[in-house]
């Protein structure tokens, strides 16, 4: 036995091993199941636009991060399994500048309205100062309501916790429910500074853009706590405290896009995709064996290795599979054959030129290589642009396509080559193609 044969046997063992891995990791509770996108598993995607106009340029990233964390906490509270919450920065080519978005993926939630409600209830908390120079009309109301209050920079971002308490206490009938909020250290400092500078002024507490409480500052407050007494019903106050705890949003957000796919539709698409993949692979294998004979059979072996390697990568990376991603993978099976076909045609030519078997195979690989390399580089470049272009849908396709291109090139030049060189001396007939003798 020579080295080539040992290599070929190792590859066969690898095929068996990967096959077992892909198969066994689909059992329940296995460590590496396939991950499916919302269009296959069913679920809802919500896209929010963050209004960052009131935020300092250098604080945008932190604020967006906090926003993300807050929404994630809120989503987790509703028991959605494996939600994805991520910040996306979208640049608009035409206008310059950029916008910040929050993409929320909720697998299993197929009712958009319910999903929107789940997230939309999060309150935006702001502390504002009454503008002493505001113009008032005859009725004593500000001429321009936007001028009436000045931002202090103190928002729900600095909130650490909130709880419900009763003013007057001791279970008196007339006790008023209030919400007590505790700031984090930064917020406490800010709050102390604001109260110190504005003794005698009104600091209004805004909830979702509405002033709900307008207390007058009596003295500097250093402890980092504030009370909101807005004439609440006890239930209202309790909900507010709860919602504030789950997260007051540091940045106001607005819904700009939704996608939702029912779970049956997704399951159907997936089943069809898997069936199409297996059928396509079977027909391609048949074609390869009929046309390329023994070489075709070897190509089917390396094609199996290719499929198994890519499937394992999907599990290990992990790649989130979408309908277009699966189509990309199935398309790449067609393209993976290409490198093999290039090599076989070349080997056949070299055999025709009167070389012996080994020389023909070595020479065939050497000559096919520049074509394979250049062709795959251009495909990869396209995949990179696709990935950049990506919404999550397109990114899935691009990633699968790129993985497919790289893996197919490697399996063709490593596996097919090893298999061919491990062949014993056989008649050239088995390595020729089509109708030739």
């Amino acid at each position: 036995m020579n080295g080539r044969r040992i290599g070929a046997i190792l590859l066969l063992v690898a095929i068996a091993g990967l096959g077992y891995f892909v198969y066994s990791s689909e059992k329940e509770n296995a460590r590496f199941p396939f991950k499916f996108g919302l269009d296959l598993a069913g679920g809802t995607e919500l896209i929010y636009e963050a209004d960052i106009s009131a935020i300092n340029q250098n604080e945008i990233d932190t604020s967006m991060q906090t926003l993300r964390d807050v929404i994630e906490r809120r989503v987790n509270l509703f028991g959605v399994s494996e939600p994805v919450v991520q910040v996306e920065q979208a640049s608009i080519f035409a206008g310059g500048g950029s916008e910040y978005r929050l993409v929320v993926e909720l697998p299993g939630v197929t009712d958009v309205n319910e999903a929107v409600r789940m997230i939309g209830e999060t309150p935006v908390l702001e502390f504002k100062l009454l503008n002493p120079n505001v113009e008032l009309d005859e009725t004593g109301l500000p001429v321009n309501p936007d001028d009436a209050f000045i931002d202090t920079g103190l928002t729900g971002r600095y909130l650490e916790s909130a709880q419900l308490e009763f003013l007057g206490g001791q279970a008196q009938v007339a006790s008023e429910p209030i919400v007590v909020i505790n700031f984090d250290s930064e917020g406490a400092e800010l709050f102390a500074q604001i109260t110190r500078d504005n003794i005698g002024n009104i600091v209004a507490i805004f909830l979702d853009g509405q002033a709900i409480s307008t207390p007058v500052v009596r003295s500097e407050i250093t402890g980092g706590t504030a009370q909101i007494s807005g004439g609440f019903e006890p239930e209202e106050a309790r909900d507010l405290a709860r919602n504030l705890n789950f997260g007051a949003l540091p940045v106001p957000i607005g819904l700009v896009g939704t996608q939702s796919v029912g779970s049956t539709l997704g399951q159907d698409t997936l089943n069809q995709g898997v069936f199409a993949g297996i059928t396509g692979l079977a027909i391609v294998s048949l074609f390869l064996i009929l046309w390329y004979r023994l070489s075709g059979f070897l190509a089917v072996l390396s094609l199996s290795l290719y499929v198994l390697v890519v499937l394992s990568l999907f599990k290990l990376v992990p790649v989130v599979l979408t309908a277009s991603g699966i189509a990309g993978f199935i398309l790449s099976i067609g393209m993976a054959v290409d490198a093999n076909v290039l090599i076989f045609e070349r080997v056949k030519e070299e055999l025709g030129g009167g070389r012996n078997l080994r020389e023909a195979i070595e020479e065939g690989f050497k000559r096919a290589w520049p074509s394979i390399r250049d062709a795959n580089i251009t495909s990869l470049l396209t995949a990179v642009v696709l990935f950049w272009f990506g919404t999550s849908l397109v990114k899935g396709f691009a990633l699968v396509f790129a993985l497919g291109v790289i893996t197919s090139m490697l399996t063709a030049i490593i596996a097919t080559r090893t298999f061919m060189l491990a062949l014993p001396a056989i008649k050239h007939f088995w390595l020729k193609t089509g109708f030739s003798k």
């Binding site: 979208a90 080519f93 700009v256 027909i283 391609v284 990309g328 074509s371 062709a375 495909s379």
Partner: protein, 295 residues
């Protein structure tokens, strides 16, 4: 090689189809989906299909503006409306659920106008970048080949082939009034990658023949070199396209509506790509050479 001999005929066919595609763009236009225009769409199903007029009536009553109702699948409808609020959508689903038995919402999507506009720009930029990257890469890969025609010609001709491959699916989608959505753009980009791959394999063979001719000091007419290279790669081009087409056809037959148009676009693109790499790119190489020789 017959392709080179009758190159005028093959180029004329390609030119004619490209012109027809452009003409259909002017006549029929493109049917952009909500991905690009902004708006909301809803796919619903019943166990038994109600009359389409009934559904149209309900939609028109609940939603203002231009709406479109189309039957899909066995007993479902696809409804497209302008960008609607959550409350409006809620009201619409309630009304729709009363129109037939076992109402179910299969798919809901809604795209704000800002996102749509942004995507349109991004798609255009992505396609332009892919095309530029390919010209430069091809010119770079063939940089040592400057005789008898310059490396840039290879890049430019690859681009002509690509424009051919992209125009034809666009034309077909325009004639058939199919939706142009994100997946369609994805398909176009994938076609670009696939087709240039195909074209490069042929060019590569030309490059190799030119080099070996130079080393062995063989004088050969350029048209002949291209013809021989085409001959040598012919079986490979056909077989690779065939395997890809087999796979795509299986997908087209088996998969449902979700990615049907996507597969159709890829299928048309792969056919166009195979045609262009054999019958457009190489004949153009020879045409450029002959024109240069005349001068």
């Amino acid at each position: 090689m017959f392709v080179i001999k009758y190159k005028k005929i093959f180029l004329a066919i390609a030119g004619f189809i490209m012109l027809a595609s452009v003409a259909s763009l002017f006549v029929f236009g493109l049917n952009f989906s909500i991905d690009f225009t902004g708006g909301s769409s809803l796919e619903v199903s019943y166990s038994e299909r109600p009359q389409i007029e009934q559904i149209q009536g309900v939609v028109a009553e609940k939603i203002e503006g231009a709406t479109l109702v189309r039957p899909i699948g066995e007993s479902g409808f696809s409804i497209r409306t302008p960008f609607i609020s959550d409350d409006e959508r809620e009201a619409l689903s309630v009304a729709l659920s009363e129109q037939g038995p076992e109402y179910a919402q299969e798919k809901v999507s809604s795209v704000g106008p800002v996102i749509g506009e942004e995507l349109k720009n991004k798609a255009l930029v992505a396609i332009i970048i892919v095309v530029l990257v390919i010209v430069f890469f091809v010119a770079f890969a063939f940089r040592k080949v400057n005789e008898p025609i310059s490396a840039w010609w290879y890049g430019l001709i690859a681009i002509v082939a690509l424009i051919h491959d992209v125009l034809i699916p666009i034309g077909i989608f325009s004639i058939l009034h199919l939706d142009i959505d994100i997946l369609f753009v994805t398909a176009l980009l994938a076609i670009l990658g696939y087709s240039v791959n195909d074209t490069i394999v042929v060019f590569d063979r030309v490059r190799e023949s030119l080099q070996s001719n130079k080393e062995l000091r063989i004088k050969e007419n350029f048209s002949e070199t291209v013809g021989k290279s085409l001959q040598a790669t012919f079986a490979r081009s056909i077989n690779t396209s065939l395997t890809t087409l087999i796979v795509l056809l299986t997908l087209l037959v088996i998969t449902g509506s979700a990615i049907h148009n996507f597969i159709l676009a890829l299928l048309v693109g792969v056919i166009a790509g195979t045609y262009s790499s054999i019958f457009v790119a190489s004949p153009l190489l020879v045409a450029v050479y002959e024109r240069k020789k005349k001068k």
